[in-house]
Symmetry: C2
Subunit: 206 residues, 2 copies
């Protein structure tokens, strides 16, 4: 199982601040699902709130509408294939957690929606009911009620990948699964199966 | 002046889909401003709509409230320093476009808000009035009425950086301003002056 440690809620926005693609986990009345979403962002620091677009035609939408809860999971590059897959098929047609899919779930602490293995970070969210946004724009606001991260990827309030200050990137970044920073970088979806990996970290001095 | 070509509106979402930090340009009644925003995302494809958080205490908010317009600009790494600067000071205290700041504006085609030189792409947006969202969450929705990109960075509906399929990254990525993909990559803000550069592009086959 993926190692994880709690993230202090006032730092939870940092899990999404750089704009990664996320997986949305949902569950209600014995059914569960996961889908990919490129359209999410923080909207407040503390208590942390996020926004995410959940299309009205998805099973995820049905489960989130019914339960008032969802998880946002920040997938690692190592599961880019699974991220694309769960974003390309409907949970109405197939069990996305079936053996052989490579998609595995574990339980959160505050919500019933599944958290997804192989991710770098997890945000447990409760819907802030805004029916007009939901119906008109498929736009959901959520309060983050618990947050977790793989300490190899994020700890002490900071992402741990791409911190090489020499300006060189990628040398270890491509050895996915090696336990280096590589397979542990987050993803940024574009379109048509094309992603960017999160790149070099750098600091600008004011 | 930065070279730019129009982006077809149904492809405009791709300018923000990977979650870059943006600059928000605004103007009203002879005043203009620019600030940085890490919290923006697409919310619809066509007509393209976006969401962005604009804090109620900013001059940008005052100008956007008054004009009903704003620009979203996708800064290149080459202007990371300027991006941090315009996100750290208030337009009430200083003219962010003053000589010496390195921040230069040009005019859009559909709106009065300034577009920012040195960016990779530009979205001209009109506010979709949603007073409840604006007042309660500082959350603005906008319709994208025109979009532009530097063809060295984005053309034919695709980002042009990081398309090296060998797995090597960064070698040319650090020669900012060289005209290679490097200085032309977008930014992902974290906190405290820390950014990620947009990293390697890769494709997952379904």
């Amino acid at each position: 199982m993926t190692e994880r440690l709690p993230v202090a809620l006032p730092k939870a926005y940092r899990l999404l601040n750089h704009g990664p693609t996320v997986l949305v986990g949902s569950a209600h009345a014995g059914r569960r699902n996961v889908m990919a979403a490129a359209w999410s962002m923080p909207v407040d620091f503390s208590p942390p709130k996020i926004a995410v677009v959940i299309d009205r035609n998805t099973l995820t939408r049905e489960l989130v509408d019914a339960s008032g809860e969802f998880s946002l999971n920040v997938p690692a590059r190592a599961i880019a294939r699974e991220t694309l897959a769960v974003g390309s098929i409907s949970g109405r047609d197939t069990d996305k957690f079936a053996p052989g899919t490579g998609v595995r779930a574990f339980s959160g602490s505050q919500i019933g929606a599944p958290l997804i293995e192989g991710c770098l970070a997890w945000l447990e969210c409760r819907v802030i009911p805004e029916p007009h946004n939901q119906e008109r724009y498929d736009l959901f606001l959520g309060e983050v009620v618990a947050a977790w991260a793989d300490p190899h990827a994020f700890r002490d309030g900071r992402w741990q990948f791409g911190t090489d200050e020499t300006g060189a990137t990628g040398a270890t970044g491509e050895s996915a699964g090696s336990g280096g920073s590589g397979g542990l970088r987050s993803l940024h979806y574009i379109a048509g199966g094309n992603f960017f990996e999160t790149g070099e970290a750098f600091e600008v001095k004011p």
